[in-house]
């Protein structure tokens, strides 16, 4: 039995999780990372992806998030997600809408930096689409 720590997943609309967990897998901007108790303090942006939460008791939960931040301290971890939905309730149409919007953004922007940013985002979204397809 691993040590547990406090994990909170918040979206602007509501507080989704606030409980003791054993480990959390976060899709960090620079790669996935697994957070366990007594993790060194890290602050990272997250990319669109799936957050896997393993609570101290009960079964694993998975959430789809679209960007946000994770604030990790030894005592706990707070994830501020732009939008978070349990994988089971996730609406494919919503993702397609976002991909479509990102694609339009990428095509319409004039300046190169913004375009590369938009393309990167689009890329992440399509990866995400692949990741949750089988689920």
């Amino acid at each position: 039995m691993a040590e547990s720590f406090k994990f909170e997943l918040v979206s602007p609309e509501r507080l989704l999780i606030s409980e003791e967990v054993e480990q959390v897998i976060i899709p960090g901007a620079e790669g996935e990372m697994t957070v366990m108790a007594s993790h060194a303090p890290v602050m990272t942006t997250i990319k669109p992806g799936v957050v896997t939460v393993k609570p101290a008791s009960g079964s694993e939960q998975r959430y789809v998030v679209f960007g946000g931040f994770a604030d990790v301290v030894p005592q706990g971890c707070t994830l501020l997600a732009e939008s978070a939905v349990p994988v089971g309730e996730f609406d494919r149409a919503e993702l397609e809408k976002r991909i479509e919007a990102a694609r339009r953004d990428a095509e319409s922007t004039e300046n190169d930096e913004a375009r590369s940013r938009a393309e990167l985002y689009l890329n992440k979204l399509t990866t995400l689409e692949g990741a949750i397809l089988p689920a």
Binding site: E8, V10, S11, P12, E13, R14, L15, G28, A29, E30, A40, P41, V42, M43, T44, T45, F69, D71, V73, P74, T78, L80, E82, S83
Partner: protein, 289 residues
Amino acid sequence: MASLKDLRNRIASVKATQKITKAMQMVAAAKLRRAQEAAEAARPYSERMDAVLANIAQAVSGNEAPTLMTGTGKDDVHLLVVATADRGLCGGFNSQIVRLVREHVRKLLAEGKTVKILTVGRKGYDMLRRDYAGMIVDRVELKEVKQIGFANADEIAKKVIALFEAGQFDVCTLFYSQFKSVISQVPTAQPLIPAATGDVEEGSNAIYDYEPSAEEILGDLVPRNIAVQIFKALLENVAGEMGAKMTAMDNATRNAGEMIDKLTITYNRQRQAQITKELIEIISGAEAL
């Protein structure tokens, strides 16, 4: 003097009005509860956001902080984001906000600044258009939106940021109505750009690892914080609007009740007077024989 028939019609029409205001009050009460819940549910996010932002702002030294947070260093052009309701019939709710905006505009103009206005909600636009039509650069209507989501706020934030990046203004202030209680909404002006950062909690100065760099995170966080602030303001506004509407409609219902009572008394009195008059006519007719 109005005839009996006129009075009857009048009473019927006031009764119909009372029914409508009563229904509106009950609808507002139900919506108020939902709006309050939404505002409450959004609170943890903005609190955590503040904490994170204060923390990271401390880590990034002055020069590297994004201009969205520190401002351009000038304060010549002001953008006022005015959030009001889309519907009327809610007492002084909208005009309170607009009054605060007017005071602000007058003060800024007196200081020789340029003022630009972005309105959110139809009522604010309607009221400000009369005096400051030339200053309104953009407007957003949320009439079609049933439940305000983060996406709505994000859209407004994007507009504000785009204007800022195009160098259209230096300072941005958000106007909305703070929801204190059902009977009290306080119009508030809140600085958006440059951002007002809260105090850092003591003892939270752990050495953080930043992924990617602290500057990059901050660059991502600040625009999002603007969206969060707007979102919070919109939610408070909805709750405030419903609270004000409830009070206003309650007053209207009570007024209608009083009016009905008064009209009924007049009606009864007149009817009695007519009966007496008829009786007198009959009696005096009988006596004359």
